[in-house]
Structure formats: C-alpha cells, structure tokens
Symmetry: C2
Subunit: 199 residues, 2 copies
DNA sequence: ATATTAACCAAACAAATGTTTGTTTAACGG
DNA sequence: CCGTTAAACAAACATTTGTTTGGTTAATAT
C-alpha cells in the first residue's frame, strides 16, 4: 500500500504526473453512463475530456481498460458509502436499511461511476466480462452478510429477500427522477415492505 | 384490423410474400439480446438470418426500424401472456401473482424478444427512445391496475409495491440461471414476501 | 543552460460500420 | 410461354471506428 507515500509526495514532478488521468476517467464514466460501452466512441470521451482522441492512449492503453477502470472506481465508491453508512449500527434491519439507502443515494445521486456498474457488460469479450462480474460480486457480498444477520426463519428467506431488495433498488435507475422521494426514503419504503412480512 | 384477412389468404403469392421477414426479426432479436443495440451489427443480424447484409434492407428500412419492430413484438408477446394468465382469477393477490409469474416466465423462458425490451434504449435518438418507452409504459399499465385492486391502506402503498415487485422481477435477468427455482416459483416468493407485510 | 520527460497534438492507419446500387434468381399469374 | 415481381445477391459506397505514429510544448531536474 503506497497511498500514504503518494499523498505525502507533493513534489512538483509528482503533481504534474497523472494530472489529467482522472479527468479522462470522469469523461469515460459520463459517456459510458449515457451511451453505454458499445455506444461510446473514443472521440466522444476525448471531446468530453477536452483533448484529441489519440491523447487518451497516453493515459489508458485501450477502450476496454477505461471500462475496467470506471467499474473499479464505481465499485470502490459505492462500497465505501455502504461501509460508512452501516458503521456503528447494531440492529440488523437498521443496518440493511442504512446500507440500501447509501446504495441508492450513490446510484441515483448523479454520480456516473456507480451507474456504469449497473449496465450489462459486453458479451463479446469473456475476459473483460468476467473481470467486471467479479467486481460486482465482490461488492454485493456485503448484502449477503447483511441479510444473513436478519432474524429470519430459514436461509432461503435471506436469499430471496436479498434478491428482491437489490433488484428493486437497482431497477430504480429506470424510473427514478429527482424531485420526488429521496433515495433514502425509497430505501426505507422498500425495507419496511419486506420487514413487515417477517414479523 | 386485417388479421383475419391475412390468415384467410392462403394464396401462393401471399405465402411467398414476407416469407423470411420473421426470420430476419428473429435474428435481430437474438443479436440485440446478446449484444445490445449498439453492439449489434447489421452483418451480425444478416449472418444469423442466413443472408447478406444488404438483403436486410428489403425487409426493414434501417437498423432502428428493426429495434422498434423487436420491441413491439416483445411487448405484444409478454402482454398476451400476462393477460392470459390473469383471465378468470378474481382474488387480487392471486391475480398479481399470476401476472408476475407470466411476466417472469416470458422474460426468463429463453425468448429473445421480451428480454430486448428490458435493455435500456439508445440515448442518442430521442424519437426512437420515446417510442420504445411508450411501448413499455403501455405494457406496465397492466401492473398499475393490478396493484390498484389490492386491499391496501393508501395509494402510495400500491405505487411502491408495484415499483418493488416489477423491479425485482426485471432485475432477475441478471442472476437467473435455469435449473434452480422456476420463474413461477420465484414470482410466488416475491408476492408472498410483499403480501405478508400488509396483513 | 541543457537535457529530460509528462502531456498532448496532428495526422494518419486499417478495419468495421450502416446503407445504397445494380443485377440475378425463381416462383407466380395470365 | 412470358412478363411480373418477391427476394436475395454481389459489390461497392462514404463514414466512423479503435488505434498508432511521430512531432511539439512546456515544466522539471541536473
């Protein structure tokens, strides 16, 4: 782990290095979210980042590398939000609700990275696909643990409750519009709908 | 409505006409499902249909027309299945469960058409997008009516229950694998999870 | 001052893209 | 038998695609 070293290094050379890398990734995330992977052009990303198409290859070796990088950052952000939200909460149902609220706030809050994770990955490249599915599974493991802690009858109840709540949350991206209920309020509705059925 | 006329016309000329049109549409549905719209090539569709790329334009004037046609057929099929499933059932909860079972069976039963409807539509063409959203809304209106008939406290409960159950069902496409529980069994699990919370 | 190098530009590349055009084939109707 | 026509082919079209290459600029290090 060299994060501390990077943060400590304030030398001019390091500050100049990888300066616009994040800008490129931001542009890629924006385009992938709006148009999908196949529907996005390297020229689209370049225009969004304010540079020429060829310049992208200084920062990333290929289009697919950009997709992987966006996925990794998206999973990192939403996982961080969820971990922070459940920290310090003991009651299992409250933990699940807090996690779901953070999940939906990150998804629907306008961030491009997390939404890219929800789009289905390209089917033509098996290696790329496997890498992206692996990333998402690693994140969703948190919800498996959260549901495991719930006071339910059997193990299958945990499973189907998790499938239901995560599915409903992820699908919200198709109908959610800002101005109505907040993501956190929607999460509360969802959890309460399921919590009532088991008491 | 000239369906009866078409069905009655068994003249050789009519039988020859539009013969391979459905084969082209089948190929398009298969490709769109597997690779998405932007990820599908007219050459992919042509190869799948067993003809040359240019020949597709005899049947459909553009790639986007193929997408609209697949959407229309997909909505038609799943709507037909749902309407047939709820016919003759009186109890509101049983009606919802039957509708959801038919919805999921059509989605997960291997058909290409219905699954294309779930994929998000291209964002670059507003007219095309509006047409596809209109088609899906027209279908989902059935579930609004089904939830409206449920014996619930208030109107918002109907709304959120519908959002939850449809979202969970549509998202099942990402994790469903044949061999486990049947789509109908999953639908029953989902409905029972929600039904319990309101009694 | 000079050499180095991160970052980008300018221009091209081959391949793939959606679509068009003119032609052929074969089944049908008169 | 012959004209018509549904249906497809063969070949190209202009454009767009992901990517490469070689040069340019300006900040940094020595």
């Amino acid at each position: 782990m060299d994060t501390a070293v990077e943060l400590a290094d304030r030398s001019p050379m390091t500050r100049r290095r990888n300066n616009r890398r994040s800008a490129v990734l931001d542009a890629a995330a924006r385009c992938f979210r709006r148009q999908g992977y196949a529907g996005t052009t390297m020229r689209d990303i370049a225009a969004d980042a304010g540079m020429l198409p060829g310049s992208l290859y200084y920062h990333y070796p290929a289009k697919s590398a950009l997709l992987v990088a966006v996925h990794e950052e998206g999973v990192r952000r939403i996982a961080e939000a969820v971990d922070l939200a459940v920290a310090g909460i003991a009651d299992p149902w409250q933990r699940l609700e807090a996690a779901l609220a953070a999940h939906m706030e990150t998804l629907l809050g306008g961030g491009d990275y997390a939404l890219v994770v929800l789009r289905d990955v390209p089917a033509d490249d098996p290696d790329l696909r496997a890498r992206l599915v692996e990333l998402r599974d690693e994140y969703e493991e948190r919800f498996r643990l959260l549901c495991q802690a719930l006071p339910l009858d059997d193990r299958s109840s945990q499973y189907w409750l998790r499938m239901m709540v995560l599915g409903a949350a992820n699908w919200s991206r198709t109908w959610y519009r800002p101005g109505g209920e907040t993501p956190a309020a929607i999460a509360r509705r969802f959890v309460h709908l399921l919590k009532g059925s088991t008491e």
